[in-house]
């Protein structure tokens, strides 16, 4: 694909993503009804749930890329893991903050040790540590290896975290019933956030590849001059 065609495709992708998100915002503001118990704050749910789903997707991508690196020792896998981990932390932060907004309205306090809030917090911690680990290692090969192992272990830890927090007392609603208009709004948001997640991961991945290429070219020039 030529450079100009690629630019065009990327631009079209982001326009579609922003349009879907704009439709989602409009639907949640004017089309979906205000929920009787939670009031306006219930509308954060349209962002909260898709962000949670996409967060799991990003965490899974970190796992796949980590396993891929351990298998093939290809730098591209590490770049993909890096991109996915950044997006996973961003989405986990959104899930955590919107969950806290919900907790304040539903239970009158910003934080309760409910299983789902605890789960979000631990997941956020797991992937923030992944980013700290990346920033702490200078050697690209060592960094890729250590982070690949951590990425695999962290994802295997996720179901165990889920099972362990289920042992705690729960005040969360176990299921949510949605009206058709609410369901449609949720589906549009789900599509918008999924497109946004994929776009952000792809964007960061591409940036990392360009950065590697530039540093590789620069070291080649320096080596040649020396």
């Amino acid at each position: 694909m030529s450079s100009s065609t690629r630019k065009l495709v990327i631009r079209a992708y982001w326009i579609v993503t922003l349009l879907v998100l704009a439709v989602g915002v409009w639907l949640s503001a004017y089309y979906a009804p205000i929920e009787s118990e939670m009031g306006v704050i219930q509308k954060v749910f349209y962002f909260h749930l898709p962000a949670a789903f996409c967060m799991f997707g990003a965490c899974f991508l970190v796992f796949v890329a980590g396993a891929g690196y351990l298998w093939q020792r290809d730098q591209r896998w590490d770049d993909l893991a890096d991109a996915a981990a950044h997006v996973a932390v961003l989405l986990a932060s959104v899930v955590l903050l919107t969950g806290m907004l919900w907790a304040k309205k539903a239970w009158g306090q910003w934080w309760t040790w409910s299983p789902r809030l605890t789960f979000s917090l631990i997941l956020w911690l797991l992937y923030v540590v992944y980013l700290i680990l990346r920033a702490s290692i200078d050697s690209a090969q060592k960094r890729a290896m250590v982070c690949a192992v951590y990425g695999v272990i962290a994802f295997l830890d996720v179901p165990l975290v889920y099972l362990s927090v289920k042992l705690m007392d729960d005040i969360h609603p176990s299921s949510v019933e949605l009206e058709p208009s609410m369901l449609l709004t949720l589906i549009v948001w789900m599509a918008g956030v999924a497109l946004l997640t994929a776009g952000l991961v792809a964007g960061r991945f591409r940036l990392a590849r360009i950065s590697h290429k530039k540093s590789h070219d620069a070291s080649g020039v320096t080596g040649g001059m020396a």
Binding site: L126, V146, L163, S164, L167
Partner: protein, 224 residues
């Protein structure tokens, strides 16, 4: 049989070094006692009594003490090219992992044996109500914690990372153990329940998954 002999040989070497230098254990024990005393004083001058406070605070001591054990048992290999020599020895690298794991477990068991009575005394924790349940829950949890701690101590030693990072990496990963064991012990000591099978299942699953994965992955990551 040969692998078992190699594991015992390496374990004996690590424990002999520790017995002669007494660097790790003395430090870990004093740190553990300090953590329990500081938290007991911090929690309303020792007025926060009972099983739940004691088990939570003991877990903090086990976690920090354990992280120091992992670091120290691997640190002996980083001097004078010892790790390179160890890796050149004609043995499977999984053997090195298992010997380090056992060395860590011996140190952590010593830590638990010393620290737990301190917690029992300072918090008026009636351990005699279910000593076997307490020992089995803490024992199973420490195996899982040592499994990931040993793996990441190898990674940290191979990557020349600062020791503080090891605690940052292993603490969030071990949170399922902390939650499951504190919930289990809360049920046993506060409500007089029997050991909950599902909570014990989380701890055993953690042990099995991370012992297997760490044993497999250690071979890939350990480098001189």
């Amino acid at each position: 049989m040969i692998a078992l002999r190699q594991i015992l040989l390496l374990l004996g070497k690590d424990l002999r070094i520790e017995a002669r230098t007494r660097q790790a254990l003395a430090l870990v024990l004093v740190l553990g006692i300090l953590i329990v005393v500081v938290l007991a004083l911090g929690l309303q001058g020792g007025n926060a009594r009972g099983g739940l406070s004691a088990t939570a605070i003991l877990w903090v001591a086990y976690l920090f003490g354990g992280a120091m054990c992992f670091e120290k048992t691997m640190a002996v290999e980083t001097h004078d090219g010892a790790l390179a020599g160890l890796l050149m020895a004609p043995m499977d690298r999984g053997v090195i992992y298992l010997s380090k794991l056992l060395a860590n477990l011996v140190l952590m068991a010593t830590l638990a044996i010393v620290i737990t009575p301190v917690g029992v005394v300072l918090f008026g924790f009636d351990l005699s109500r279910a000593p076997l349940a307490f020992a089995s829950v803490v024992g199973a949890s420490l195996i899982g914690y040592a499994a990931i701690g040993t793996l990441f101590s190898g990674l940290v030693a191979s990557s020349r990372l600062s020791g503080g990072l090891l605690a940052v990496v292993v603490f969030p990963l071990s949170l399922p153990l902390v939650i499951a064991s504190t919930q289990l012990l809360k049920g046993v000591f506060e409500h007089g329940n029997a050991l909950d099978a599902s909570a014990m299942g989380v701890i055993v699953a953690f042990d099995v998954i991370f012992l297997t994965v760490s044993w497999i992955v250690f071979e890939l990551v350990i480098e001189p």
